[in-house]
Structures are given as structure tokens and as C-alpha cells.
């Protein structure tokens, strides 16, 4: 479809509403946060306008570098786990009868309605020594004695994958539904087993969707601050945990804002890299 380029000011009218939304809900809060990150903290939890870099300086330490590194690593791990699990799951889901699909989608949506707190406590019960899943393994004779599986990295990862999985499926679902089912049939007639057809046709044909989904889950996971605390040890705490800690418990808004700004910048940088890498791959 060819579109006329806008001629008069009024032609930009349709852009007005989205632009307003973007300004009110994104630009203004983000600008406020950037401003606060340069402010000076007052004893007692307040801050006054100023321009100082100490908040950022404090951040430049090995401790925070480690936390940042761990946060990114955790978010990447969650994103990869979710996508790797969700693609086959969603693919099989789209091949099922309409009714079955609806039941699964409703179930996934109901997981979305659970708050992070409920998910966290549910998993901490499931991973506990007294009431956890290891008791089932003991009953089945696979383990000699029940043990606690948390706090641990595995528990944090499981909880976060569980939380992000429904989003992943819901983002992948439309693309997979739209994927022409005759593509895999064609691959099969051309000599590919169903599994080979999946890896040589479905996955490559969805490359852009998969990249977009990875980025989405990655960003979603970066923001998680309750699950690492509920299911992990202090060394499993992410930058989001520290930001929450500074903002709410230490009442140090400027420092929290500085960390948040830094996190946003690093995230944007990584996303840009991914997109550029994707473009390069496409051109090659």
C-alpha cells in the first residue's frame, strides 16, 4: 500500500494521541528519574535539586559491577529458557483443535493473573524440605531423604521462567498461528522428518519473532525484584532488588534513580546490539 506523505499540520493528527500517551507515561517519568539521579540526598529520606555525579560514582565499584553482570546473565538465561520451552509448546498448541487451544490459553492467562508474591511463595513451598516436591521423589523411592531446593540459583531461575512463560507463549502464539501450516507439510514431502522440518523451516521462518521475544522476556526478567529475594541467596539478588532496596528501605531516591538509569542504558545498548546483529544476519 502506498501512502501519501503528510502535507499539512492536520495530517499529523492521528499521531497526536500516541504521542501524548508516550509523553505522559514514558518521557515524563523517565526524565524525572534522570533528573533525580543527579539530585542530592538529604538525611531523613528527602532530596534536593542539585547536580552531582556522586550517585554514579558510587555505582562504579566491583560490587555493583558483579550485581549488574549477574542480573544480565540471569535475564538472558530466563529469556533463553522461556523461548526454548515456549516455541515447541506454542507450535504444538497451534496444531491442536480450537477448543483445546482455548483451554490452554485460558490456563496461561490465569497464571498471568498471579502476582509475583504468590508465585514466589508457591515455589518456595514447592522447593521446601518439609512440603516440597522432593517428598514426592522420596515416596517414589528416587531419593532417600527430602531436602530443601532453595535458596538457590535453580530456584530463582525456575520461578522467573514460570512467571515469564505465559508472556512468551502469548507473544509467540500469533506468529505461529499465522505460519502457513503447508510450509512444514512441504518440508515433509521434500524429505524432512517432522523434527527436521521444525528446525529447518519453523524456527528460521520465525527468526525475527524469536529475536523480539527474547528481547521482551529479557527486559521483563530484568525488572523482577521479588523472586530473587524469595527464592535466592543474597548473591542471587539482581540490580532491581538493590534499586528497590535503595528506593524503599534506604530512602535513597537519587542513588536508586542513578542505578535505574544505568540499567536502562545497558539494556537499550544490548537490545540495539541484538537488533543490529539480526540485521547483519539477514543481509548475509
Amino acid at each position: 500500500m502506498r501512502r501519501e506523505t503528510p502535507q499539512r499540520l492536520a495530517d499529523y493528527g492521528p499521531l497526536f494521541f500516541p504521542a501524548m500517551m508516550l509523553i505522559v507515561f514514558f518521557v515524563v517519568p523517565f526524565a524525572t528519574m534522570i533528573a533525580v539521579s543527579f539530585f542530592q540526598r538529604q538525611q531523613g529520606g528527602f532530596y534536593v535539586p542539585a547536580f552531582e555525579l556522586s550517585n554514579y560514582q558510587r555505582f562504579l565499584s566491583l560490587f555493583f559491577a558483579n550485581v549488574l553482570g549477574f542480573s544480565l546473565m540471569l535475564a538472558i538465561a530466563v529469556a533463553i529458557c522461556c523461548v526454548v520451552l515456549a516455541i515447541p509448546f506454542t507450535y504444538l498448541l497451534t496444531r491442536m483443535a480450537r477448543k483445546v487451544q482455548i483451554i490452554w490459553l485460558v490456563a496461561l492467562l490465569s497464571v498471568l493473573s498471579l502476582s509475583e508474591v504468590i508465585i514466589g511463595f508457591a515455589w518456595s513451598t514447592l522447593f521446601s524440605r518439609t512440603a516440597g516436591i522432593t517428598n514426592l521423589l522420596v515416596m517414589a523411592g528416587l531419593m532417600s531423604e527430602a531436602k530443601a531446593l532453595l535458596p538457590s540459583f535453580g530456584a530463582v531461575l525456575t520461578g522467573m521462567v514460570y512467571q515469564a512463560f505465559p508472556y512468551t507463549v502469548l507473544v509467540l502464539y500469533p506468529a505461529l498461528v499465522r505460519l502457513d501450516p503447508t510450509l512444514t507439510e512441504a518440508a515433509r514431502t521434500l524429505g524432512a522428518s517432522p523434527i527436521k522440518a521444525f528446525f529447518t523451516v519453523v524456527v528460521p521462518a520465525l527468526r525475527n519473532t524469536i529475536t523480539a521475544t527474547l528481547i521482551m522476556v529479557f527486559i521483563f526478567a530484568l525488572g523482577s525484584y521479588l523472586l530473587p529475594q524469595l527464592l535466592g541467596r543474597p548473591q542471587h539478588w539482581t540490580l532491581s532488588v538493590l534499586i528497590t532496596d535503595q528506593a524503599i528501605y534506604q530512602s535513597n531516591m537519587p542513588f536508586a534513580a542513578a542505578m535505574a538509569v544505568f540499567l536502562v542504558l545497558v539494556t537499550l545498548g544490548l537490545v540495539a546490539l541484538t537488533v543490529i546483529a539480526g540485521r547483519k544476519g539477514e543481509a548475509a
Binding site: D180, T182, L183, E185, A186, A187, R188, T189, L190, G191, A192, S193, P194, K196, A197, T200, V201, P204, A205, R207
Partner: protein, 345 residues
């Protein structure tokens, strides 16, 4: 036997029978067109031959081996889908090389075969184009080349040309037929279009409601339809009720005609007469008497509509043999015995 054989192949979807007891042998190297109205089970039958659907009854044999339950990817066939199903993430060359890549053929062989196929479909030099940058006809050819790249035992096409415009379609029909003859490959094409079937096929299979009504050469199907459905479906025809008395004298539409026999002990039948076989003369003996109701002069042909005892008979003639008639004029309709096909009621 070399070739494809279907024995009592049946496919039921729940209580609905989409393909019913189909028996068909396709000798090696034959070009078969399956023709029939929408929903008659052509696609379902083709998908069962490809292994994409499993029959609920019967057996499919290829070169003597029972392949009824062999998974699709082990059947070594080539199939062209109606949507073409070209892989959007691959280039033209990669699409054509896909079956070879899947079978881990050496890279040089793949390249050689791709070049060979591209020149066969007149698209040399297109190997590195993305498939999205091709025209409809070019995509069509790429889909055909991809299906042929392993030299399959069986070449299946489901309405391969339906997305093309009429002119391109006719050109592709000829091309496809020539290609098939050159390669000598057993080919089955599903189509809606009877001209297409007549152009390409060695054998036309006419289906209706999941059953094969007739399988024969195009000209035989046209000249000797097996039943009223086939006669009516292939080309246009005049179907006229005929009755015979105990002495064998035949009346058509209540008027006596000479020279036609319905066969022994048959009192009622339907006559099928192609419009080009209907001759108009002056009213008189041995001809059905009727009245001209409409004349359509199409330049190349002239269609005359004649009302005989309340039934409309269409006669087609060339301008050279133009009957001297006008609307409202009484005429005689001659049914020549050797071109009338008697069909059981």
C-alpha cells in the same frame, strides 16, 4: 507393477466419507489429472498419496511396495501445494536445494543440480534472489523445480496453476506437460479446470462425492462419458430423456427418432449430445421439431437455442456452417446416432 496403485482407498472424517473406495492404477510415467467439483475429495486423495493424511481403509502401492503407512518424508516424492509453500527465509537457490540439503548431498552436487533446474525452468541467474521478489509465474516454476530436485518417483500437484491469470496458466499448462514428458515422471495433478485437464493429461479421473466416476483418456471422457454426471461436468452437453417401447422404437422428448437404440431391454435412458453435434435442418421427418428461441453469435461460433417440447437444446456451429435461422422460426433438430451417447438412467 511399476507405478502407483490405489486399492479401495477410503478416508472418513468422523461420520463423513471424503474419499470412498477409490481404485486406480497409474502406470509409470503417466500424467493423471483429477477433476471434480469442489469438495469432492481430490485434495484428500492427493494428501493420502503423499502421506500427509492416512487412509482409514485400503492400500496404496508404489512400484509394488505398500506405502500406505510409510511416513511422508520417506516416500521420495515431490509435491507442489496450491499455496506453493516456498520457504520465505530461503533464496530461490536454497529453496530448490532444500531436498538435497536435507539428504546431506555434497555442496557441489547441490549447486550443480540447482543450476540445472534453474535453466530448465528458464530462471538461470535467479539463485540468489529472495523468493518474495519473484512474480507469480516465477514462483510457480521455483515450486515445481524444488519438487523435482531429487528426481522423485511421484510428482503431485494440487491446483498448481489456479493463482495465475488465464494467459499465463495456459502457457504453464503446456510447459508442465512438456517437462513431464521430457522427464517421464509419474504425475498427478488436481484441478478444477477441465481445459487444463484436457491439455495436460494422459488420463483424466473425474470424481464426485468421494468416488471416481470415470478414469479414461481426455478424448474418451469427452466422447464416451460413463454417466450423466461426467457428461454434464466435462464440457457442455444436451441431456435428453429417451424412451423405447417393447419393439425397440425410440422416442426422444416424446417424438420418434430413427436409428438410435438404447440397448436390449432398456426402456428409459438419457441421451447426451454435444452442442457441436446437434444439426439444425428444416422441420420434417426424422428430426425433432422445435422452435428457435435465441441466437448467440459469438463471432467464432454461433449458439442456437431451440425449444423442443419445453426442453432447451443448444446447437453450436461455425459461421461457415451457419444455419439459416432466426428467433421464432420452427426448425428440425437432427440427432445423429453415432454421436449420441446413451447413458443409463
Amino acid at each position: 507393477m511399476s507405478g502407483l496403485a490405489l486399492n479401495n482407498v477410503t478416508k472418513e472424517f468422523g461420520t463423513f466419507t471424503a474419499v470412498n473406495n477409490v481404485d486406480l492404477t497409474v502406470p509409470h510415467g503417466t500424467f493423471v489429472c483429477m477433476l471434480g467439483p469442489s469438495g469432492c475429495g481430490k485434495t484428500t486423495l492427493l494428501r493420502m498419496i503423499a502421506g500427509l493424511d492416512l487412509p482409514t481403509g485400503g492400500a496404496i502401492r508404489l512400484d509394488g511396495d505398500d506405502i500406505t503407512r510409510v511416513p511422508t518424508h520417506k516416500r521420495n516424492l515431490g509435491m507442489v501445494f496450491q499455496s506453493l509453500a516456498l520457504f520465505p527465509h530461503l533464496t530461490v537457490g536454497e529453496n530448490i536445494a532444500y531436498p538435497l540439503r536435507i539428504r546431506s548431498a555434497p555442496k557441489e552436487d547441490q549447486k550443480k543440480r540447482v543450476d540445472e533446474l534453474l535453466s530448465m525452468i528458464h530462471l538461470s541467474g535467479y539463485a540468489d534472489r529472495p523468493v518474495s521478489k519473484l512474480s507469480g509465474g516465477q514462483r510457480q516454476r521455483v515450486a515445481i523445480a524444488r519438487a523435482l530436485s531429487i528426481s522423485p518417483k511421484l510428482f503431485l500437484l494440487d491446483e498448481p496453476l489456479s493463482a495465475l491469470d488465464a494467459k499465463l496458466r495456459e502457457a504453464m499448462q503446456v510447459e508442465l506437460r512438456q517437462l513431464q514428458q521430457k522427464l517421464g515422471i509419474t504425475t498427478i495433478v488436481v484441478t478444477h479446470d477441465q481445459r487444463e485437464a484436457m491439455t495436460m493429461a494422459d488420463t483424466v479421473v473425474v470424481m464426485n462425492r468421494g468416488e471416481i466416476r470415470q478414469a479414461a483418456s481426455p478424448i474418451e471422457i469427452y466422447r464416451r462419458p460413463a454417466d450423466t454426471f461426467v457428461a454434464d461436468f466435462i464440457g457442455s452437453t444436451n441431456l435428453l430423456e429417451a424412451e423405447a417401447d417393447s419393439a425397440g422404437r425410440v422416442t426422444v422428448l416424446g417424438q420418434p427418432v430413427a436409428g438410435i437404440s438404447l440397448g436390449p431391454n432398456i426402456s428409459k435412458a438419457t441421451l447426451s449430445v454435444r452442442p457441436e453435434d446437434v444439426h439444425l435442418t428444416a422441420p420434417g421427418d426424422g428430426a425433432l421439431s422445435g422452435t428457435v428461441t435465441f441466437v448467440r453469435d459469438l463471432g467464432g461460433t454461433i449458439e442456437t437455442f431451440v425449444d423442443v417440447a419445453g426442453r432447451q437444446i443448444i446447437a453450436v456451429s461455425t459461421p461457415r456452417a451457419r444455419p439459416d435461422v432466426s428467433v421464432g422460426q420452427p426448425v428440425g433438430v437432427v440427432l445423429l446416432p453415432d454421436v449420441c451417447v446413451v447413458l443409463a438412467k
